[in-house]
């Protein structure tokens, strides 16, 4: 069994493996370290559609995702991130669709 997965370890992995310039990771499992949502900003996403971006993330976190119950990501290029920030005065942060108040409900794996 690998080391337990934490917000910090996921953030470090994404920063390192996707050359991410900004990463927000949120544990949405209520503390058991089984579900995470994220906002990832990386120049590697430029010129890729949503599916290709998510596939890059899935590949970078293959081992981690296989061990946890739920995983969400919002993938933006630095330009998209700045644009959204300028337009809304902030950024929505990681996606929370599918959660109840930011926590995952439903079956346990």
């Amino acid at each position: 069994m690998a080391q337990s997965i934490t917000e910090d370890s996921v953030r470090a992995a994404l920063t390192d493996r996707l050359k991410a310039s900004h990463v927000e990771v949120q544990d949405m499992s209520g503390g058991c370290g089984q579900a995470f949502t994220s906002l990832i900003v990386s120049p590697e996403f430029v010129g890729k559609n949503s599916l290709q971006r998510h596939r890059l993330v899935n590949a970078a976190l293959k081992d981690e995702i296989a061990q946890i119950h739920a995983w969400s990501a919002k993938c933006q290029t630095p330009e998209e991130y700045e644009k959204e920030k300028a337009a809304t005065g902030g950024n929505d942060g990681p996606p929370l669709d599918g959660t109840a108040g930011g926590e995952v409900t439903g079956v346990r794996q």
Binding site: S50, I65, G98
Partner: protein, 116 residues
């Protein structure tokens, strides 16, 4: 590390499932009773878009462990739910929701003529 390979039998079963309707969702639970928030969110989006029930099929991966593991390998996608339109993999919950918000999903569903 032991590599897992999709058996021919499972692959054929998934091929069949994917082509059983123009819009196919692999989910946890059923459309009436989703067993996970991500599957529920995906069903809600397809409902809001007005997908024709006659052109839609859902498969409950909780009832079939081989399907549950097999579909991940088939799509090269690690999580459930998974949406297919015209046998083509579209994405998981995040992609479905973001395409819904951007209007891309409405466009795609209209092009594929799968709306009620």
């Amino acid at each position: 590390i032991q590599a897992r390979f999709l058996s021919d039998q499972t692959r054929q079963a998934i091929d069949k499932a994917v082509s059983s309707a123009p819009v196919v969702l692999f989910m946890k639970g059923t459309p009436e009773t989703p067993q996970c928030g991500f599957s529920r969110a995906s069903i809600q989006v397809l409902g809001m878009q007005g997908v024709d029930p006659a052109k839609f099929a859902a498969f409950n991966v909780l009832e079939d462990n081989e399907l549950r593991q097999g579909i991940k390998e088939y799509s090269d996608w690690p999580t459930i739910p998974q949406l297919y339109i015209d046998k083509e993999f579209v994405g998981g919950c995040d992609i479905i929701v973001s395409m819904h918000q951007s209007g891309e999903l409405a466009k795609l569903l209209e092009e594929k003529k799968v709306l009620a």
